[in-house]
């Protein structure tokens, strides 16, 4: 089972890489057909990754979210899934070029951290923990996509301001579309983030985790939550458009990355199971 899972994940990895190559060619040639080809290839990759995760779950005997390998594979999967869902809703056709490298990097780090499946540590054997993790991963997928869109937005705006239209026209999604993507991704991600944090708090309270509220990671997560709440509030009030939303989304992304790659492994008192 574990063998099959690894093989499927490799196939998914290759498909993602292939889709990325297609998007690169699309960027150079600006062919609209290639966008669709890239999307389909990536979607097949997503299916393979889904199967790989299910197999891993069977071989580990639990939902595979423990340890660096499993959690990174899950985050990559969630990013790819959210991207596809939003893509089918918003019909923005050119974000693959920017989403796929993120997925590929996450998967590459996951490979480096590969560990064979193991039993869950007792602290994680709880339904509310599984709920907490799954909901959080979905939120992270959404907010990574929002942050990525924010980065493209800022780059594109700078290029337009500098009159480098040649690098932009027909290659990058329009500013309007990116703004919409930031908004929709955050709108989707924030409720999940809220629910995930609530689940975490309930779990911490019921198990009497000592002073969980001053954990650096919890504080950063609260900060990120506030950022996204401000973003949505600003957008809905309609005073805030474009650049400001993009900056907020990018800041949020930075906070999330700090949480994942600095706070969790080095500073957090608990939450260390993610590796």
């Amino acid at each position: 089972m574990e063998h099959a899972s690894v093989i499927f994940l490799w196939i998914a990895y290759l498909l993602y890489a292939g889709a990325f190559a297609v998007f690169v060619v699309q960027f150079l040639t600006r062919s609209p057909t290639l966008t669709r080809v890239g999307l389909v290839v990536a979607a097949v990759g997503l299916v393979f990754q889904t199967v790989a995760i299910i197999f891993r779950g069977f071989s580990a005997g639990h939902v595979p979210f423990a340890g660096a390998y499993e959690s990174l594979v899950m985050v990559a999967w969630s990013v790819a899934l959210v991207w596809h869902v939003l893509e089918s809703f918003t019909r923005i056709r050119a974000v693959g070029l920017y989403v796929l490298p993120v997925v590929l990097i996450l998967l590459t780090v996951a490979w480096v951290e590969y560990k064979p499946p193991a039993q869950l540590v007792p602290a994680l054997r709880s339904d509310i923990v599984i709920l907490h993790v799954i909901v959080m991963l979905t939120a992270i997928g959404c907010l990574y996509v929002a942050g990525g869109a924010g980065i493209i937005y800022l780059i594109e705006e700078a290029l337009l301001r500098r009159r480098r239209a040649g690098g932009v026209l027909g290659r990058l999604p329009s500013l309007g579309a990116l703004e919409k993507l930031i908004y929709h991704a955050t709108l989707l991600g924030l409720p999940f983030l809220t629910a995930g944090m609530l689940a975490g708090i309930i779990r911490a309270e019921t198990f009497n985790v000592p002073s969980w509220w001053i954990d650096p990671m919890v504080l950063l997560a609260l900060f990120a939550w506030a950022l996204y709440a401000v973003l949505l509030w600003g957008r809905v009030r309609a005073d805030w458009v474009g650049g400001r939303l993009a900056w907020l989304a990018v800041t949020g992304l930075v906070v999330l990355l700090v949480i994942r790659f600095a706070a969790v492994p080095y500073f957090s008192g608990f939450h260390t199971y993610g590796g």
Binding site: R161, G166, G176, D239, V241
Partner: protein
């Protein structure tokens, strides 16, 4: 038999001459007809667009065809042929076909990559076709040319980037807003370019067009033309607050819109992005506006730069397109060669001779009892039958060689005997209902000839025979 083209284009002739030579639809057809009736050509087609007037001819004597065409053109222009001569270009054979392909691919156009020429060529061809001026060769050739045009368009990015100031402005607006539906454009001043840009924007789905001008009557006039609404010039700030795209082209010597005005307007529109295009010289919009958050300002120079870049890209794509043209030229050439009478007769004779030999060989065992002399007689007998049968077709084909119907005959012979080198055989099947096509194939012979060939042990190899067998078994 050669394809000849002669004519003038924006590259060789002045606008004045092009105007004199321009043909309307009826004129084009009449000119083609006259050339056919004059016996200068077997097939003829006249193409006339605002940038070129060209005559395509298919005839035996290409210099004569060209002369007739030039005279006809001179007559139309009301000038002497010698006067026209310096502005004319002429190609024959391969060069003429290459020219046709390049024209249809818009490689020869004033704006490389423009899309109109395919439609114009199609219309010219359809007209000539309905008018009975084209036949086997031109039907095939022009259809092929239209295919080449389509191929170049889909396989290269030659027509992708806009190369006019107004369409570049529209593309930039699209890049900022994504969709233009539900957006408003404000036109300040009533210039030609702003009208053109407004028309482009409308084609991309923009719904509300506001027009304002110092003289209200001019604004009303332009608003009527582009289907917009004229608004008073005094409340410029209010209009700026309502507009997502602003196109300015007044003849004012000073800035019409200042940074402060845009800042106030943006506040009123709650900072939704605004895209301002300044196509006036001297400029209407204060360049400082570009520093305002969510305001994007492009002036005429910026747009020109975009256009230049895009032109450069089209040039690059043109190389790719030339390769496609060369490739297609080879394929159409093979077919044209096969339409020559002499090689067709030779192929026909070769094919039938091979059938004869195959049959003799198949009977080899049964003829074993015969004496050498008797065998020689059988051989002579069969050869003589073949010769008798082929005599009339050979004579008839030689008779029509060089006449108008020549290609028709050759094409028919190649199709009936399935001699290969004949692309139109497949093409014509498209026009025939499937059942009928299959029936034809069975009649031609699949059942008898091919079946026998299959049973013939180690029949002689030969492309034609194999071809026959291939068709036969497929349909049997």
């Amino acid at each position: 038999m050669l394809v000849v083209v002669t004519g003038i284009s924006h590259k060789t002739a002045s606008l004045e001459l092009r105007e004199r030579l321009a043909l309307d639809e009826a004129g084009a057809l009449r000119m083609a007809r006259e050339l056919l009736d004059g016996g200068a050509a077997c097939e003829a087609l006249a193409l006339s667009t605002c940038n070129r007037t060209e005559l395509y001819l298919y005839g035996r004597d290409s210099p004569a065809a060209r002369r007739a065409a030039v005279e006809r053109l001179a007559q139309h222009a009301g000038a002497a042929a010698a006067e026209l001569e310096p502005s004319l270009y002429s190609y024959s054979g391969d060069a003429a076909i290459a020219h046709l392909f390049r024209v249809t691919s818009s490689l020869d156009s004033m704006v490389v990559g423009e899309a109109q020429i395919v439609a114009q060529m199609k219309a010219a061809y359809q007209q000539a076709c309905e008018g009975g001026c084209t036949s086997v060769v031109f039907n095939r050739l022009f259809r092929h040319a239209l295919e080449v045009g389509k191929r170049v368009r889909t396989e290269t990015a030659i027509g992708e980037r806009p190369v006019s100031v107004s369409s570049a402005a529209v593309e930039l607006a699209l890049q900022v807003f994504g969709k233009l539906k539900d957006h408003t454009v404000l036109i300040v001043g009533a210039g030609d370019t702003s009208e053109l840009t407004a028309t482009h924007l409308k084609a991309h789905g923009i719904e509300r067009i506001l027009v304002t001008n110092r003289t209200f009557a001019a604004a009303e006039e332009l608003a009527r033309r582009v289907g917009g609404r004229a608004v008073p010039f005094e409340d410029l700030e209010g209009h700026l607050a309502a507009a997502d795209i602003v196109i300015s082209s007044t003849s004012a010597p000073h800035f019409v819109v200042t940074r402060e005005l845009v800042e106030r307007a943006l506040k009123r529109r709650r900072h939704r992005p605004i895209f301002l295009i300044d196509i006036a010289v001297p400029r209407d919009l204060d360049p400082e506006i570009d520093r305002v958050r969510n305001a994007y300002l492009y002036d005429i120079d910026d747009l020109q730069r975009v256009v230049e870049q895009n032109r450069g890209e089209r040039e690059k794509e043109a190389h790719h397109a030339e390769r496609i043209v060369a490739e297609e030229l080879r394929s159409v050439n093979d077919w044209l060669r096969s339409l020559e009478v002499v090689p067709t007769i030779a192929t026909l004779r070769g094919a039938v001779e091979q059938i004869r030999r195959a049959e003799l060989e198949r009977l080899g065992g049964k003829l074993a009892d015969l004496s050498d002399e008797q065998r020689a007689r059988v051989d002579m007998l069969t050869a003589s039958i073949v010769n008798k049968i082929l005599h009339m077709p050979t004579v008839k084909m030689k008779e029509v060689a060089g006449s108008r119907d020549c290609a028709l005959y050759v094409d028919a012979v190649r199709t009936l005997f399935d001699l290969g080198g004949n692309g139109s055989a497949q093409e014509s099947h498209d026009d025939v209902p499937e059942g009928a096509a299959a029936e034809d194939a069975a009649d031609v012979g699949a059942s008898a000839v091919a079946h026998d060939l299959d049973t013939a042990a180690g029949g002689p190899p030969g492309a034609t025979i194999h071809h026959l067998r291939g068709t036969g078994t497929d349909d049997a």
